[in-house]
Each structure stands twice: as C-alpha cells, then as structure tokens.
Amino acid sequence: MSKWKPLEKMKILGKKYPRIDGAEKVTGRARYTYDQFKEGMLYGAILGSRYPAAKIVKIDDSMVWSLPGVKAVLTDVHPTGRVRYVGEEIAAVAATTPEILGEALRLFRVEYEKLPFTLYLEEAMKDEAPRVFPRRSNVNKPRIREEGNVEQGFAQAEVVLEDTFRTQVQIQTPLESHGSMVYWDGDELIIYDSTQAVHGVREGIAKMLDMPLHKVRVICHHMGGGFGSKLQPGIYTVIAARLAKQANAPVRLMLDRQLEFLTTGNRPDSLSRIKMGAKRDGTITAFFAKTYGTAGIGNGAGVRLPIVYSIPNVRHEHHDVYTNAGAARPFRAPGCPQASFAMEQMMDEMAEKLGMDPLQFRLKNDSNPTRQKEWMIGAERFGWHRRKVTPASDPGPIKRGMGLGASIWWPGGRGTKASMKIYSDGSVEVFCGTQDLGTGTRTHIAAVAAEELGLELKQIKVHIGDSNYPRSGASGGSTTSPSVAPAIKNTAEKARQELGKILAEHWNVSPEAIIFSDGYVIASGEAKQRLSWKEACGLLETDVLEVHGEWSEGLSSSGVAGCQFAEVEVDTDTGKIRVLRIVAVADCGLILDRLTTESQVNGGIIQGISYALFEERLFDPQTGAMVNPNFETYKIVGTMETPEIEVILFDEPERGVIGIGEPPTIPTSGAIANAVYNAIGVRIKSLPMTPDKVLQALANQKA
C-alpha cells in the first residue's frame, strides 16, 4: 500500500472543514438511541439498590403488576443477591408510558439485610474497615514498576523532596445517558445502543444471553458522548432484552440521571505519596511513589506516575482499594490526569528548590524531541517570560499567576476493516463498523475516501455504527483515527485500482497511467484521455464495484507529546479561582481535519478545568448514598467559566495518523495548580481546588 501523500498535495486532509453530519445535528434530525421509537414500544426502568452493602432477602413485585400499564417485570436481575453499592441493579420494569415508571419503581417491596460498608479510600484501607468482598482484603496486592536503581538514584541526588497529592472521583456523565432500545425479530435481537463499540457490544451481549453472534445486531447512528464509560456492553441492554421478550414488545430503557451517576463508571480517585531527587544542575536522578486509588468494587485505579519526564531510577508501587461504590470505567486518559496533577506540582516544587525556572527544569528532563519544540512555541505564544518569579507578589486581594504542564499519550490503533461500493452513477458508499462519538469519525472516513478518489466530501456516503458492517474496534483510548483512517485509505485504494483496471482496458493504456484527481479520471502520458468520475463509473454499467480493505502498517503511529500553559486569578477573600487563559500546543501526526482536532483539544482542556475546579463525587457517610447525583450539585464547567483558549496544532504528517482525544485533558489541572501557587504562594494539593480548600490553605499559611 502506498503512503499518505505529502501534506501540500492533499486536497482535504490536513485542512479545516466542517463535519458532514453537522446539518443533521443542528436541525435536531440526528436520531440518538434516546430518540428511537418503534410501534408498541414500552419504556423500561431499573430499580437500583438503596443500600451500599446488603443481602436482598426478598423482592415482592405484586404491587408493581397491579399498576395499569405495567407489561413486564424482572426481579432476578442481580446474579447473587449480594449488593455492594447504591444503585446496583436489582429489579426492572417495562410499562406503556414513561410517566408511570417512577411510580412502578416505588411499588417494588424489597426486603434487605443491611451490611456494613466503606466509602472512602483512606477509610477502606484501615484494618477495621468492613470488607467489600468477604474473602479479599480491600487493599489489593501492589503492582510494582521498577527501572534502574532508586537507592542509587537517591544517593546521587543533592536535593530530595517528598509530598502527597490527592485527586477526587470524577464521573463521565455524557449528556445522553446510557441505554438501549431493543426488539426481537423472531429469535434475532436488534439493539440500538448508545455505545462506543457496536461490535464489542454485540459480542458481549451475545455471550451474556448465550446467543450466536449472527443473531445479535447492534446499531448506533449517533450517540451523545461516552468519554470511556460506554466501551462495554451494559447490564441495562440485557435487562431491556429480557423485558422485551417477556412483554413481546420493543423496549427502550435509558438510565435516568441518578443511575447514570451511580452505575456507569467513573475516574478513580488517587492518593500519591511521592519522593523525588535531583542534582543541583537540575537532573532528576530518582523517583519513588506509593499510590492508592479506588475503583469502587472494580479495579483499574492506577496512577501513571511518573508521567512524561525521563527519570533513570524509578520505583512505583500501586494498590487498588475496594470501596462500596460503582466500578470505575475508563475515562479520557485513564490514570493520567491524576498522575499529572501530582507530577507537575512536584516538578514545580523541585524547580523552586533548585532555583530554576519551571520551564527550564522541564526542558532539562524531557527527552521527547517534539515536546522540546512545543514547550518553546507555547512559552513564546503565552508570554511565559512575564511570569512573576516571586509567588504571591501581586498587591491586593485578587492575585494572578502562571503555570504549565505536559501532555502525553501512547496507544495507536489497528485492526479495522471496511468496504466500499461504487455504483455506475458515480455514487460511493463506505461501510465500517466503527462509530462516531462526536469526535468526527464519520467525517474523517468521508475525507480519507474522497482524498483517495479525488472526489469531494459530499460525494461519499458513509455508513457506520452497525455491527453488520466490517469489524472495527471500540472507540476509546484515542485509537479510532489511527485504526480507521488507514483501513479507509486501503479500501479506497483498492477501489481505485479496480476502477483503474477497467479504465485502462477501456483506453488501452497501462493501469499505472490512470490518475484520479478533482472529480476526473485521467489517463496520463501520451494517451491523454479524460472522463468525469461519473462517466468513468458509467463503464460499470449494471455492475457494482465492491471492495474490502483493512488497516495496514505504515499509515498511523502512536505517541503524542503536547504542553499547556495556564494563567489564573485567585480571590484571596473568597478563595475562588478563575482560569483566565490557556495556551495549548498539541501534536497528532497527520491531522485529518483541523476543525475536529481543535474541537477535541478545546474540549479536553475545558474538561480539565472542570476536573481541576468543580467536579467531585460526594457520599453521605451515614447512608452511603451519593449526595450529588445530578447536574445541580455535581458541577460541570459552563460558558461563563470558559477562559480564552488558544490551540496551536503541531504538524508531523510524516508520522501518519495518531489519535488526539486523551492527551489534551491530562495536564490542565496540574498547570492550573502551578498557576495558583504562583498567584498566592500556597500549594493546593487536592482536587478539586474549591474555594474552601484555597481559603483553608491561606489560613494555614498564616498560622
């Protein structure tokens, strides 16, 4: 397969163009799972456990059935009857209208045997804490990573620093909640699902229902955000399928906002105890970290320390800790924002101790050649030289400060298959079993196909979001673009070759002489023949040209650098932090569409601000219930808190396509924390950086 054309020869890729499904979205015509209807459809709802730890003794559904409109009830939803968090699924109901679902759920009579529970990381680590799983300690065995020799590393160090950082549990909360609309067509199950993985859901649900794969079909035309929480098959889908079978009717089951908060994943919290040593010249010699995190009843609370910087001697011990809360799921750059918040502050503390500028200290310990350039571009654009050397030197109660942090991400993608049909009237269809989370995948597919065929975006009809289409992986971990784009290029190239053969025969030239450009097919060289795309396709007559392609090596890669600079304002009377400005430099190899790429970077930064300042899951210690499972009290950033943001895209087209979703959200909280320190001279070592923590820290400093 051939490589990507040089950027300057590209007609579409690397440029800025609007998404092809934009019109559907702004007119309200884009139909999400939440919008799927079918004749006779019922509405489903799930009853979640009221207690964080309990045995379900009995579920009486007789009163539920007495409610007119109730058509199906399940009381055997939970496999063991031993619930471990509030909201865990125990029963379900389907009814003719959504208005009666609330009443139906209230009519379940559930007898619980309450058990002791534990909610918070450090509480759950204590010996006397109730065990989440009776036969396992709450504190998991450590995962240990070791490089070099830390003892020697610390022995070489001239300055050693120790500090502790904490981050909170953050919830993905996509605006469209999790859920499915399902119906049975004979013994085949059709599922509309709000998912990041149509193929993955098909495989998972088929297994859970013990069905052959070909009898399960999963469709997702549009979905209202996932951020990692919709990568897996949902219990709600299984429940909907069972309700639909029982009632012999289609069922739509979308989680309400509260269950969405409780049961569909989160970013684990973290406690990081760090020790770092450096030489006077600014070389970091050793890094030791002991970290803990809770993923509720699940695992995967790792903290990816030391993030970004090159340190020869590293030891990192991590323990996952169980608590009575919903299991974590991947959330945009799993394990990284937690690590970055701690690491970037450690870096600044060390730089201060060494009397170095924080940027110079980073340049000294950053081995990534791309980021070396990006640091300089960003610093210049941001005006880093204007940063105050002495923290808290502004007069008056409102103080400004500047800080910085670095991005990183690793995975590439592979494995996608695709197909293409070209018809005799010139119309082109691409089929790929990937899905568009809003990142622009549908548009990128059209762009790659159009670029290869010398057509315009609007000439490509893209079909995605259906498990009947050629297999593609889950859209997560910034793997979609590097996985999908090469497969589409490969498929289009095959189509071009096939069509080229027909034209070569028609013109009696060699297939190598056929060129596809600007809506024409041209025989180059002496023959100098030319047909419009439509005329050329007319040679197919009644035939349809159909080709299959797949991901191939050399068109994509992995590894992203990037950096961010933040300026903040802190009101020392009220403790409020306001982010004034962010400058971000981001790279992702060959940029498919500058507009969707910029949107991703902007979104990552603003989500990072939200993580830094507002979002936090909070429990009632008495009952174990989450006290803020709603947007009124679980605060997410809005337009009023959105600062001035400048995104600088750093082109490296020679590296091929790389995903950009995760990295921009990683460094924001650490950059803001460093800026806060620069403003007020006190470090906030725990997220979110709320006014109470700022005031407390200022008060402690005075005392």
Binding site: V26, Y34, R578, I606, E632, T642, Q696
Partner: protein, 486 residues
C-alpha cells in the same frame, strides 16, 4: 385529571387533552415524537430540552427560552411553543451554519437546544447581539464534550451576520427582520393572528381546583416531578393577576408569580436595586429564571435561596390570601418575611393559603443595598453562603440596617441580633468587629456538600466584611477589614 389545551406547536395548531401537570418535554418526545428536544437531566440543569415559549403581549409576540422538563403542559394553552424543528428552514439558518462551520457541535446531543437559545438571542437583541449576550444565552446549557470555546466563536459569526439588521427596540420588530432575511421561518409572522383566533377562556379560570399549587415549577418538578402528572394540580400561572410589579406610595408590590427575570428586568426594581442584574446572573440559568417565581422561591424555603436572602435584607413583607372556599371570609394577612420561616421548610402558612404579593419599601437615596455570594462555580451555582445588607447612615451613625445570611441555618436567616446591635451605632471598625462576633452566635452552619461548617463560618465572616468593604470603601481600607479576621 385532564385538561384541554389549544396551542401552537411551531406552525401547527394543536388541540389536545392532557393532564395539566404533564411535562412539556414528555408531551413533545413521547406523545408527539418531536425528538429534536433532548432529555438530559430532567431537572432544569443541563438545558438540552430548551424550547421557546411565545406569548402575545400588547407589544406583539414575546418569546422566552425555558426548559421544557419543568414546564407543565397545562400552561402552554394559548401560547406558541417553538422547538428546534420549528426553526428549521430549507437551508441552514445563520445560527445553525455558524455552529457547523466553527465545529461547535460534537456529539451533538446538546446542540438543538443551543440552536434554540442562540436564535432567541437574535430575536431578543437583533443587531445588538454581542459577546456577552452569547455567553448569557448559553449559560444555562451544559455541553459535556465541552465545546464552549467553539460555541463562543460561532456566536461571533452570528453577530457578524446580525450586523446587517437594523437596530430595533422590540422582539417583534427583530422577528420581522429575521423573517425577511431568511433567518426565521415565515410562519412566525402569522403567529399573532393564529393565537388571537385560538384565544379562549383559560382553563381553570375563576376557581382553584386543588391546593397542589404549581407556579414556575422549577423546584416542585425536581422534588416531586414524577407524581405531578397524575395529580390534580392548580397551575397558578393561569391566574395572571398575581403577576407584575407596581408602586403604591413608598412601597413596591411584587406579584408572587413575577419571574426572576421579570423582576430583574423591571425598571422599578432596577432603580431600587441598581445591581440586580449582576446578582441575577449569579443565580439560576436564563431558562430557569424565566420560569422561577418570587413567590415560589419564598415558599420553597431553601435556606440558601439567593432571592429570599435579598428580600430578607430588603425587610420585605408578604401578603397571603386564603384560597379555601370554606375560609373565603378570612381577610388577607400580612407577615414580615423574616417571621415567615419557623424551621427547616416550615412556614407560617396554611396549606390552602397562597403568597399573593411581596412588598418592600423603596430604598431612600441614603440607603444602600448589597448582595454577596460564594459558590464553587462562578455562575449558576447554589451558594455555600450568601448574604445581603440594606443600610442607611446619618452622620456616620447607622440609622437603619437589615442583614441576612443564607446557608448558615435551617432557614434563610435574618440576623436580628446583629441588626439590633448595629442600629444606632457609629460605623467604625470596632463596632463591625463586635457585630461580626454577634453574627457568629446567630448562625449555626452544618457541614454538607457545599462546605464544612468551619468553612461556612469563615465565609460568613468574609462576606460580612465584603459588604462594608464594598459599600464604604473610603471608610474601611481592605487591610483594616482583613485584620478583623486575621
């Protein structure tokens, strides 16, 4: 219980029988399959279900954005309900085009409602639609892909296009221009005539069918939303005589159904409380302020309600009226707002009594008013602690003072002992210091999700200081004031 409603849905005349308490969001999505209006939270917090509600007024049509998840269907009778489908043309409108071209739609779930709100911005401001307006109309929308930066850029594009409009004072003039320029569908011009034709006696007029009162619905639908469609309810907004603001002598009388937005926009209020617009922006989203009523806020009795804290410091009075037919002979009753709260969510009010009016005296030229609040987010967040003051001086002696504080007790608190102490005292550092200590004995904050008890005490001190710092900057240097608690 059902009621018959006639209304305009976009360009369509509708005649339906519905439970009056049914949510318009459910009506649209489940009964009419209008799925451009999205369900995000069903609590008025995300804005994904925003629609426009148009009413025929003396000066023509007037539209407001509201969240359909808190809007009872019984109330849209005789009105024009506009969803995104009703804004669509054969081509993309300038609002839609700007969003697409700036990449301001990602997953797209929040987008249709944002189109509705930005279009409202154009209808309201026309040629004068500016950056602040864009932020203002978008402030009640959550976008979890957090495309706000692109949305603000889209707002700039819309403004550029709007510059070709002729500045005009009213929504209806703007609407005509927008139709002419192909920005709004032409059926909008026929709406006033259609509504006039449809006008009939509002259902429930003349009697109150039930003591389950719903005013703006912004609290009650969040608290009891699921049960309301099944209940017999009285939609108070069908009784417009309880709306409006009038001056009677030295007092302002506020109809209990006056919305937050109407309150803040009223010239009499702006004269009485010059910074009311700033305070409002800290309050709820535009969609919620367009629905939430002053009376409803008072009766909801949240200990942290911004409006109630402000009214307490204004030393407002309530006029209550008995609605029960058996007690119709009872006269109307007046009570000071500060005496209305008897405990957490306990009111000096019978179940059939209604708050009819709120009355407060117009501030004299020597009186000053100030409101302060601290919360996690700058805007649209519920306060950790809030506080308001109304004060007048005579020769640096405190003539009259009213102080209130929220989030520090089971009720919205009037600091009566603090006021008593300061009344007649000289305005100086030591008296304020002493007053602050008294205030500390009056408050009893508890630790909750908005902060620990200690933090709220710290905040209450800082807000207390902030009042004097803000109102008397010449008399108190910040340093002095900070030393008070330093």
């Amino acid at each position: 219980m059902t009621t018959s409603i006639r209304f305009l849905l976009n360009d369509q005349e509708m005649d339906m029988t519905v439970p009056p308490g049914l949510l318009v969001l459910d009506l649209l999505r489940h009964h009419l399959e209008k799925t451009g209006t999205k369900e995000g939270c069903k609590e008025g917090d995300c804005g994904a279900c925003t629609v426009l509600l148009g009413e025929l007024t003396d000066s023509g049509m007037h539209y407001r954005p509201v969240t359909s998840c808190l809007l009872p269907a019984g109330e849209i009778h005789g009105k024009h309900l506009v969803t995104v489908e009703g804004l669509n043309l054969n081509h993309l409108t300038i609002v839609q085009e700007a969003i697409v071209n700036e990449g301001a739609t990602q997953c797209g779930f929040c987008t249709p409602a944002i189109v509705v709100s930005l279009t409202y911005g154009l209808m309201e401001k026309g040629a004068n639609f500016d950056d602040e307006d864009v932020k203002y109309v978008l402030s009640g929308h959550l976008c979890r892909c957090t495309g706000y930066a692109s949305l603000l850029r889209a707002g700039k594009l819309i403004q550029q296009k709007a510059h070709s409009l002729t500045p005009s004072a009213t929504q209806s003039e703007n609407i005509l221009q927008l139709i002419e320029k192909g920005i709004l569908p032409s059926y909008f011009s026929e709406v006033p005539e259609k509504l006039k034709r449809m006008a009939s006696i509002p259902p429930g007029n003349g009697h109150l069918p039930s003591a389950k009162f719903i005013a703006g619905g912004t609290d009650i639908y969040v608290q009891e939303g699921e049960s309301l469609p099944d209940l017999a309810v009285t939609l108070l907004n069908l009784f417009p005589e309880m709306k409006g603001i009038v001056q009677k002598g030295k007092n302002l009388h506020i109809g209990a159904l006056t919305t937050f937005e109407e309150f803040a926009a009223h010239p009499l209020i702006q004269k009485a409380i010059p910074r009311i617009k700033d305070y409002m922006l800290l309050n709820a989203s535009l969609q919620v302020r367009n629905r939430a009523t002053i009376g409803g806020n008072i009766v909801n009795a949240s200990p942290i309600a911004d409006m109630v804290i402000l009214l307490l410091a204004l030393n407002a009075e309530l006029i209550l009226t008995e609605t029960s037919p058996t007690q119709k002979d009872k006269p109307m009753r007046r009570i000071r707002l500060r005496n209305f709260y008897k405990g957490y969510k306990k009111l000096d009010k019978s179940p059939t009594e209604l708050v009819k009016e709120i009355v407060f005296s117009i501030p004299e030229p020597d009186e000053q008013i100030h409101f302060e609040k601290v919360s996690k987010r700058r805007h649209l967040d519920i306060a950790s602690v809030n506080s308001a003051i109304r004060i007048s001086l005579k020769d640096n002696i405190i003539n009259q003072i009213h102080l209130s504080m929220g989030g520090v007790a089971p009720i919205p608190l009037y600091l009566s002992q603090t006021c008593d102490y300061l009344s007649g005292k000289e305005l100086n550092l030591s008296n304020i210091q002493e007053a602050m200590e008294i205030a500390q004995t009056e408050i009893s904050p508890i630790s909750d999700i908005r902060g620990s008890a200690e933090y709220k005490r710290l905040l209450s001190r800082n807000l207390f200081i902030a009042h004097f710092c803000e109102l008397f900057p010449d008399q108190f240097s910040l340093k002095d004031l900070l030393n008070i608690h330093g």
